[in-house]
Symmetry: C2
Subunit: 250 residues, 2 copies
Amino acid sequence: MDSPARTTNAPLRRETLHHSAVAELRAMILEGELPPGRRVPEMELCEQLGVSRTPLREALRVLAAEGLVELRPHRGAVVTPIDPKEIAAIFQVMEALESLAGRLACDNGSAEAFAELDRLHGELVAQFQAGERAAYSTTNRRIHGWIVAMAGNPVLEATYKGFAAQLNRARSLANYDADRWQESLAEHEAVMDALRRRDAAAAAALLADHSRRTADAVLNTLRQGNEAGAVSKEGNRSVSDHPADTAGSQ
Amino acid sequence: MDSPARTTNAPLRRETLHHSAVAELRAMILEGELPPGRRVPEMELCEQLGVSRTPLREALRVLAAEGLVELRPHRGAVVTPIDPKEIAAIFQVMEALESLAGRLACDNGSAEAFAELDRLHGELVAQFQAGERAAYSTTNRRIHGWIVAMAGNPVLEATYKGFAAQLNRARSLANYDADRWQESLAEHEAVMDALRRRDAAAAAALLADHSRRTADAVLNTLRQGNEAGAVSKEGNRSVSDHPADTAGSQ
DNA sequence: CCGTGCCAGATTGTATACAAAATCTCTATT
DNA sequence: AATAGAGATTTTGTATACAATCTGGCACGG
């Protein structure tokens, strides 16, 4: 959206260096150019991005706060590994956020916004029928993002986007199967039906349901195919059996 | 909890400077030592914290990512002003998070955790009867934090803590009245009742309800008493009439 | 043959110096 | 007298230099 082809050495006047460095690095991580678990030496990125260490380090702190990289003192930075346990935890929170978004979207969405949503859904159906997996996936993300935007809550939107980025990173190494694909479309139809009726409660419930099923599908493929460099100390987990009880640890 | 009296010049071996600077600044902002809207010149904080500009700047980026400060390019940093609109938005998200936490706590909470919760609730009741407002408020925060911890979801807990910090900052300049105090205690009783029965659905609903009422109370006092340095361009807003529809802006 | 301690290399953490941008002030002109 | 403009000052943005810490390998001793 904002960095079509920043090769390496364009001065880029309008923004500060660390700001654009954040954008660069975030894109590189989300595109998979910097895979999860990869070490990120400062000097290497400095010449790759054409900036000095100072702005680069500031960018790394920001990304660390976003959860995209981990910073070990005196030991360098690594792209945050995909931890099925953490992904499951994020999905649980996302379920609540999507549900809230669906409810608010019914109450606050403008007529034009609903029309656009309808259009996007039509696109989704067409892409499903054409078997265009990648396009479907993109449209799917746009639809969910659009519903969140319709909710009209900037905090919700920002929080959602942060988690969605993490989940997309996980999805990139876990393509779920065709059965789930069809099921997912059916759930989208149900959600759209509720939204068209402006039925906030139903939309919230259906979106939560859709989110949970998506979570199960992703986590299933995650713990099956561990072919990539994904670090997974203990990969056997469903979203249904929750992360470890930490109640006594505080 | 972790910085009882870091005066200014103790070397502090175990952590890096920017890390401790983050902790320092966060505490200063949350304690109200740095009030909302206040400009934060780098040099001033440098000598106050006894560090150089480099680690301080990195700390500011982290706090900016947390939403506690705002960074205007070439124009310095300010402590994020309390914007009733944003507080309302945060409360909406918090409602969903607290609800989720209540549900998960019922499913995942250990017996010991529930016992501790009972103990905390007893403390709360005692402090209410004794009229100890400040202590009540502290215990109240601990209870909500404890329920979130019982949920056993680290992502939920981290997200919750970030928003709770923002809301506490807003609460610090908005002490709601005695009626609401009593009402709040009654809601706590109801929540505890549901939790004791391990009734996840009821706990979730009651916590959401409690959260919404708290939001209304805080926002009411916020838009009434604008005595402090709080920046409020348009202070008339309830949590019920939602933030502006931004559907067409994407 | 294996374990422990030490040294060299590399990488990160911090400080300082310099450059650029924005704000403020003072003056000159209308 | 009011306003616009230019210069000075202050503050931020970036680069580089130096110090501290960690990693890996090698030698020495058990």
